[in-house]
Amino acid sequence: MYDIKALYEAESVEHAIRLLTEHPEAQIIAGGSDVLVQMREGKRAGKELVSIYGIDAMRGVRYEEDGAIRIGSLTSFSHITKDPIIKKHINVLGEAVDMVGGPQIRNIGTIGGNTCNGVTSADSASTLFAWDAIVEITGPKGGRRIPIHDFYISAGKVDLRPGELQTAILIPKIAYEGYRGHYIKYAMRNAMDIATTGCSVNVRLSADKKIMEDVRIAYGVAGPVPMRALSAEGRAKGTPVAKENIQTFAQAVLEDINPRDSWRASRAFRRHIAVVLAERALKESIRLAGGEVNE
C-alpha cells in the first residue's frame, strides 16, 4: 500500500486540468516510476495524486501539419525507441531513452515525466535540448508552447503553473531535417544507473559532407539543469570537418559547463569526461551524417 491521501483518475486532458484546479495540492502522476518511489521513501507521502496514466490521447508519436514531430507526453521510453518516425528522423532520442533504467522502467517511464521532474540527469533531456525541442503545456487558460530551455527553471523545478500539465514534446522540422546525432551516457553500470554525465551532439553537414554547417551539443549533469554548450557550438559552426576543429569544439565546452562535486563523481572528473564525450559524440554524429574525419 502506498501512503496516498486520495487518488483522482483523469480520463482526458480537460478532466485532468479540472482535477488539478479542484485539488491544487495534488501531485500529477504519469508512469509513477519517480512519484511512487518518492512516496515510498516518504518524500511525497500522504499526498493527493491526479493520475494521468489513463489518458491514451497523450500517447504516441506523429507528425504535426507543419512537419514537426509530436511526441505525446505519456509515450513510454520503449515505445519511443521502437517508433518508426523517431527511428527515421531522431534515432538518437530512441537510443538515449533506451539507456534509462532497465527494460521494465522503460515500459512504464514516460518522456513527459522524465522532463517534468526537472532533474539534470534525465537521459531524454540532453537530447531534447540538443534538438531545440518545444514543450506543449495545457492548462485552464488553454495551451502554450515554450522552448525546453525555458521549461527548466532550476533543479527540480519546471514551468508548470497551477492546473497545467505537459501534454506533448515537439521537434520542429527545421530542427531535425538534415541532422544526425549521437548520445553518450557515462555511468558506472550499463543498466539501472543514473548518468554521471550525459552528452548529446548532432550535426548538419554541407552537401559535399566537408563543412559542419550546424553543430548542437547539450549535457545532462553538467549543471543544475540540462544545458547547451553554446560557446562550443559557435566554435564549430561553419568550420570544415577536421580533427583540429573537433578538438577545439570539445575543449570549448569547458567555457559553458558548470558541473559539481557529488558522490557519483567530482567536478574535475566531470569536466574531463565532458570534453572526451563531446569529441566522441561529434565524431560519431559526423560519421552518421555521412562525413569522414581524417585521424
Binding site: D3, L7, L36, V37, Y53, P103, Q104, I105, I108, M192
Partner: protein
C-alpha cells in the same frame, strides 16, 4: 480521510476477474493479496530488483510501482499463468531447473517473466540483446550466467535450433 476503493476488472492469466481494491494498492499488493498469486514477489518495492515483474498487455512491468487501479481492462500474465492444463511447468521454467539458474528462487519468477517477453517475440536475439533485455533484475545467489544460458537455450529450442541450443 475515508478509505477510497475502486472496482478493477481485468484479465489475469487468461481469466476475466473483478475485485474491489483499495486505490492505494500497488499491482503487487492486488495480485498477492486479492488473487493469491504469490509468484509475484515483494523485493525492493521501488522498481529496482525486478522480483515483482509481470506482463501487462505483453510488456514487462514492475508491479510494485504500478497502481492496481491502472490494471483496469488490462491483460496480466504472472508466472502461475505459464502452467499447462495439468499443472505442468513450461519449457523456460524447466530450463531454469536444468541450468541450475535457481538457488533461493526469490528472483526467479521475475526473471522468467522477462524471459517470456523475449521468447514471445519469436526471433533470435544476440547475446548482448538478451543481457540487455534481462538487465532489469537482481539475483544475489547464482550470478547471471546460468540464467542467461537457460534463456538462450529455450529461445534457440523454440526456434527449432536444437543443436545450437546444446552448444550454449
Amino acid at each position: 480521510m475515508s478509505r477510497q476503493y475502486k472496482v478493477v476488472s481485468c484479465t489475469i492469466n487468461g481469466k476475466k476477474v473483478e475485485k474491489t481494491v483499495d486505490v492505494r494498492a500497488s499491482l503487487t499488493d492486488m495480485l498477492r493479496d486479492d488473487y493469491r498469486l504469490t509468484s509475484v514477489k515483494k523485493g525492493c518495492e521501488v522498481g529496482e530488483c525486478g522480483a515483482c515483474n509481470v506482463l501487462i498487455d505483453g510488456e514487462c512491468f514492475n508491479s510494485c510501482i504500478y497502481l492496481a487501479v491502472w490494471a483496469q481492462g488490462k491483460e496480466i500474465l504472472t508466472l502461475e499463468g505459464l502452467a499447462g492444463p495439468n499443472g505442468e511447468i513450461s519449457d523456460i521454467q524447466q530450463a531454469f531447473i536444468d541450468e541450475a539458474a535457481v538457488q533461493c528462487g526469490f528472483c526467479t519468477p521475475g526473471f522468467i517473466m522477462s524471459a517470456v517477453e523475449i521468447l514471445e517475440a519469436k526471433r533470435e536475439f544476440s547475446d548482448d540483446e538478451i543481457r540487455k533485455l534481462m538487465s532489469g533484475h537482481l539475483c544475489r545467489c547464482t550470478g547471471y550466467e546460468n540464467i542467461f544460458r537457460a534463456v538462450k537455450k529455450t529461445m534457440l529450442r523454440r526456434l527449432g535450433k536444437e543443436r545450437e541450443a546444446e552448444e550454449v
